[in-house]
């Protein structure tokens, strides 16, 4: 049997040693031999111990040792994989444990000594705990001081105390003559001792170990007093203590809160638990493969959360094996108890088995979110010297007791509680396994897709993301570096707001986030290829390149013209909705996002925001153009009269126009007096229908994130307050589409940023919008508006508009487009500048629209 365990662990070590090479897609065998160090340490320790127990304990239980040494070896290798430093320490502790094992094996009257001096052991344990109050330390430097430091090694006295307490309880109960068990004489003393130890631990804030003690005590009381009803005390006490603790201890409150709602606070307290569940989900049925997963994303994976580390890399098959091995140990342990010759041996074996079972239940249940998290170790597997040595000694005790079997079986009545406890643990382990299966399988996709899952950042280093091109052919984003250290590099940093960043700490934005499926290799590739990559390397295949409709020359010109002004420019093809340029200022540089993160977050001018798509600006006097159609439809007309008439009507706007040196009329310039005139005389039903058709109340279907659309205004609202139109919030890209519909004879196209992607077969596959153009205005009406807004010299139309952001900051709008005399591609533009700058807006608009002539 031991041979199979050795073979299993050898394969585990060998698979781990190949992991680095596999991740790098190495063609030749790349062996990282360090994993054979813990394997050899384990092998030597195990073989020496095995030789000795074969000689000394020939009649021992045949399962306990292979099962426990297997779990220990699995733990050592997993710890080494997570942290070679701690792995080395754990290997040393394993040798120390083997030393203690052999020492105890050669002590002939061990069981007798334990029983006789039970009070000494108890006192020793309590003194050790007491010492932590005086000279306790925490290896991490802060937090609960539960450890004692001896020559750079840390000992957690609560671990041996568990075993010492079991020895004391077994010894004490074995001394009581059963038929005369009296609550006062036989139970009360133990109650005091357990209560005292519990209080010490509560004072230490080691609540996990304290609740373990209490549960263990009740289980032992159940079998010694033969009262099955006592089992109900555990859940009852748990609820009671949980409620009291909830209000008395902050630790308990946060633990219970995150247990009830692990997904509410995933960036704070519940991070660990959320990551643990994601790790189990990433593992799935067979795991990512040893060394190929990212179990380090779960904090403290080496000790408290080693179960999830195994779950990620060995999958449900691995965790089920761990659960089965633990269950095997527990069931055999209880069987040893039933068959034991002496009462002390029986109680001791039962106590040890119950201790393994309870502790495993506590921590695995906590890892999987079934129970509130208690920081106890997973027996044999977790990193921790005191725990490992204690467990190894406990195994030795079980083995010794198993050799002293009684000729007669325990009477039926006496053995019933043991069967009960064993049955309960079988059910608990089955439940845990079922929940584990649910997380790993039906719930897997949901867990992997969660925003809290950072595994893509690891994939990006080993399997390149797709690159991003401009329509004009230039590479906007490229992948640099070697396998294992691939990095995204943005060649046009000014486009960062659109292209986005992908940083393990700060997440993903822009196209990197919205086109994740394509650039990360999840979409556009065949199922077989994905499956093959994930099976062999636990990585998605290389991502697909995508091409944007951006024209780099136009884009650069737009950025240049906008300069240091806050605002956005969107230039589109009026017919197809293809976005030729999209500028948003202030901008940031995606290549230096990590260095500048704090500064970027502190800035008040929101440089990370893509103002072109996510900017939400009041419509203001652009309402002129938008309402003009409905004005005509509702058979109204308006006349501003002569310049003198207008001066009398709106002297402020008149002066503003004069200052801007503009030759525009008040309608084109966007005077608010004109807006008021138009809005007040238009039919609300027509106006509402037009605003809806222009797409002001619906988010544009774009490949990147857009602002929330304004809620639709009802006809009644418009009737009551027609001027409310001016405070509808719209984004520049929405206004570009309004401009496009006027330019495109009243047909509104859908905006289109991503042109195509490069298929694995080697051709560009178009990625058009899946929406046809919408009729907004009649062709004649569109022409009439163009005519009203026609420029004097160029074959373009435009209007400027004005608004106040939050009733205080000035905003200048510009929308415009080419007119039918234009012979090339029809263009439309929207500009928003967060200052009062109509001249600048007109300059940018007129330049970009005329530039495209030569294009």
């Amino acid at each position: 049997m031991l041979l199979l365990v050795c073979i299993t662990l050898f394969f585990y070590a060998a698979a781990l040693s190949l992991a680095t090479g596999t991740r790098l897609h190495s063609e030749t065998l790349l062996i990282n031999a360090e994993y054979f160090v813990p394997f050899l340490v384990w092998l030597i320790g195990t073989l020496v111990v095995q030789r000795n127990i074969r000689r000394k304990l020939p009649n021992r239980d045949p399962w306990i040792f292979p099962a426990t040494t297997g779990l220990t070896g699995l733990g050592m290798l997993t710890i080494w994989r997570l942290s070679p430093d701690l792995g080395l320490k754990q290997s040393l502790w394993f040798l120390v444990g083997c030393g203690f094992f052999l020492l105890a094996l050669n002590t002939t009257d061990l069981i007798k000594i334990l029983k006789t001096y039970k009070y000494v052991w108890l006192l020793l344990g309590i003194i050790l705990i007491g010492l932590t109050f005086i000279i306790g330390v925490n290896p991490t430097g802060s937090g609960q001081r539960l450890w004692l430091e001896i020559f750079d090694f840390y000992i957690q006295p609560s671990e041996p105390l568990k075993l010492l307490l079991i020895i004391y309880l077994a010894g004490f109960f074995a001394d009581q003559i059963r038929p005369n068990i009296s609550w006062l004489g036989s139970v009360f003393p133990t109650l005091i001792v357990v209560g005292f130890a519990g209080l010490l631990l509560i004072a230490q804030r080691d609540l996990g170990t304290a609740s373990l003690f209490v549960s263990l005590y009740i289980l032992m009381l159940t079998v010694t007093t033969q009262r099955r009803r006592l089992l109900w005390v555990i859940p009852a006490l748990a609820v009671l203590a949980g409620t009291i603790g909830y209000f008395a201890f902050d630790v308990v409150r946060t633990r219970v809160d995150i247990w009830l709602n692990p997904w509410l606070d995933t960036s704070g307290n519940a991070w660990q638990l959320a990551q643990a569940q994601i790790a189990i989900g990433s593992g799935g049925l067979t795991g990512t493969g040893p060394g190929l997963g990212s179990p380090q994303f779960v904090p403290i994976a080496v000790s408290d959360f080693i179960f999830t580390a195994i779950g990620e890399e060995l999958g449900l098959l691995g965790t089920s094996a761990v659960l089965l091995l633990l269950l095997l140990l527990v069931v055999r342990g209880i069987k040893i108890a039933i068959a034991s010759k002496t009462t002390f041996g029986r109680y001791l074996a039962f106590g040890i088995s119950a201790y393994f079972a309870l502790q495993s239940t506590f921590i695995i249940g906590g890892n999987l979110g079934l129970l509130p998290l208690t920081g106890v170790t997973l027996p044999f597997l977790s990193y921790g010297g005191s725990s490992l040595v204690t467990n190894i000694i406990a195994v030795l005790l079980l083995l010794r007791i198993s050799t002293e079997t009684s000729a007669q079986d325990l009477p039926h009545k006496l053995s019933t509680p043991y069967y009960w406890v064993a049955g309960i643990f079988v059910i608990i382990f089955l439940l845990i396994s079922a929940w584990n299966g649910y997380l790993a399988f039906p719930n897997q996709q949901e867990l992997i897709a969660r925003a809290e899952n950072p595994r893509w950042a690891v994939y990006d280093r080993y399997s390149p993301r797709g690159e991003i091109y401009a329509l004009s052919g230039e590479k906007l984003v490229e992948v640099r570096g070697e396998p294992g250290s691939y990095e995204l590099w943005v060649n046009q940093p000014r486009l960062s707001n659109t292209l986005g960043y992908a940083h393990p700490l700060y997440g993903q934005s822009g196209l990197q986030s919205s086109q994740y499926a394509l650039v990360r290799g999840y979409a556009g590739v065949t199922y077989e290829e994905r499956w093959q990559h994930e099976l062999l390397y636990n990585q998605p295949p290389p991502g697909l390149d995508i091409k944007l409709n951006i024209n780099l020359a136009l884009q650069k010109r737009a950025d240049e013209l906008l300069g240091n002004h806050k605002g956005a420019v969107v230039l589109v093809n009026a017919q197809t909705g293809e976005i030729y340029a999209m500028a948003s200022h202030p901008s940031f540089n995606a290549n230096t996002i990590a260095e500048n993160w704090d500064r970027l977050m502190q800035r008040t001018d929101a440089p990370l925001l893509n103002r072109a798509t996510q900017g939400s600006y009041p419509l203001g006097t652009l309402a002129n153009t938008l309402a003009y159609g409905s004005l005509v439809e509702s058979k109204h007309a308006f006349d501003l009269g002569t310049a003198e008439d207008f001066y009398r009507l709106d002297p402020f706007c008149y002066r503003a126009m004069q200052n801007a040196g503009s030759s525009l009329n008040a309608f084109q310039f966007g005077c608010s007096s004109v807006s008021e005139l138009i809005l007040n005389s238009t039919n609300p039903a027509n106006l509402q229908a037009d605003l809806e058709a222009f797409g002001l109340f619906s988010a544009p279907e774009l490949a990147i994130e857009t602002a929330q659309p304004s809620p639709a205004l009802s006809i009644d609202q418009l009737d009551a307050d027609p001027l409310s139109v001016m405070s509808i919030n719209v984004s520049p890209v929405q206004m570009a589409m309004v401009a496009a519909s006027i330019t495109n004879n009243g047909m509104r196209p859908a905006p289109n940023l991503v042109n195509s992607y490069f298929t694995p077969e080697g051709n560009w596959q178009a990625l058009g919008p899946n929406k046809a153009a919408v009729v907004v205005l009649s062709e004649s009406l569109a022409e009439e508006i163009q005519g009203e807004l026609h420029a004097k010299t160029q074959s373009i139309w435009y209007q400027t508009g004005h608004a106040l952001i939050n009733q205080e900051e000035p905003l200048t709008w510009f929308i415009g487009g080419t007119t039918p005399e234009w012979s090339a591609t029809p263009l439309a533009i929207a500009i928003a500048i967060e200052e009062n700058a109509p001249e600048l807006a007109m300059k940018i608009g007129n330049t970009l629209l005329s530039l495209s002539v030569s294009n």
Binding site: T8, F11, A15, L18, H25, L29
Partner: protein, 143 residues
């Protein structure tokens, strides 16, 4: 190459891991069912029951695990006495012990002075009173 070798190793890892667990579960199962079978056939200590009715000694030896006691002729141990019910009591062997239980007889069963209300464990040299009849139990321990 590297990845394929890794995959093969992973597969072998699971095979040997579950080979171990499978063997463990199988052997455990066999030991559980095996001991139950043994309990039913081989490992029963021989039960000898001695009755004295009308001064006549009657000694019977049983190797089965279930012995029915009563006045009915189809009982394993027939006690021909008016105070004995048709199916008076039963001796069964389980959990390595012989147990006697009263089958709701009219006049009850007694172990010396103790009225037998629920199944009790009987040992060598015990006497069971069924009404006015009595039988003595001899159990030959297993070798």
């Amino acid at each position: 190459m590297n990845a394929i070798t890794g995959l093969v190793l992973r597969t072998l890892l699971f095979i040997s891991l579950y080979a171990f667990l499978g063997t463990a579960v199988w052997l455990l199962w066999k030991s559980v069912t095996g001991s139950r079978l043994r309990g039913g056939t081989i490992a029963i200590p021989t039960l000898t029951l001695a009755t004295t009715i009308d001064g006549e000694q009657n000694i019977q030896t049983f190797t089965s695990s279930d012995v029915l006691v009563g006045r009915n002729p189809d009982c394993d141990l027939v006690l021909d006495d008016e105070t004995v019910s048709g199916r008076h009591g039963r001796l069964t062997y389980h959990l390595n012990q012989w147990w006697y239980e009263d089958l709701k007889s009219t006049n009850g069963s007694w172990l010396d002075d103790l009225k037998i209300e629920e199944p009790i464990v009987v040992k060598d040299n015990d006497s069971i009173y069924c009404g006015d009849a009595v039988f003595k139990i001899y159990i030959k321990p297993l070798q």
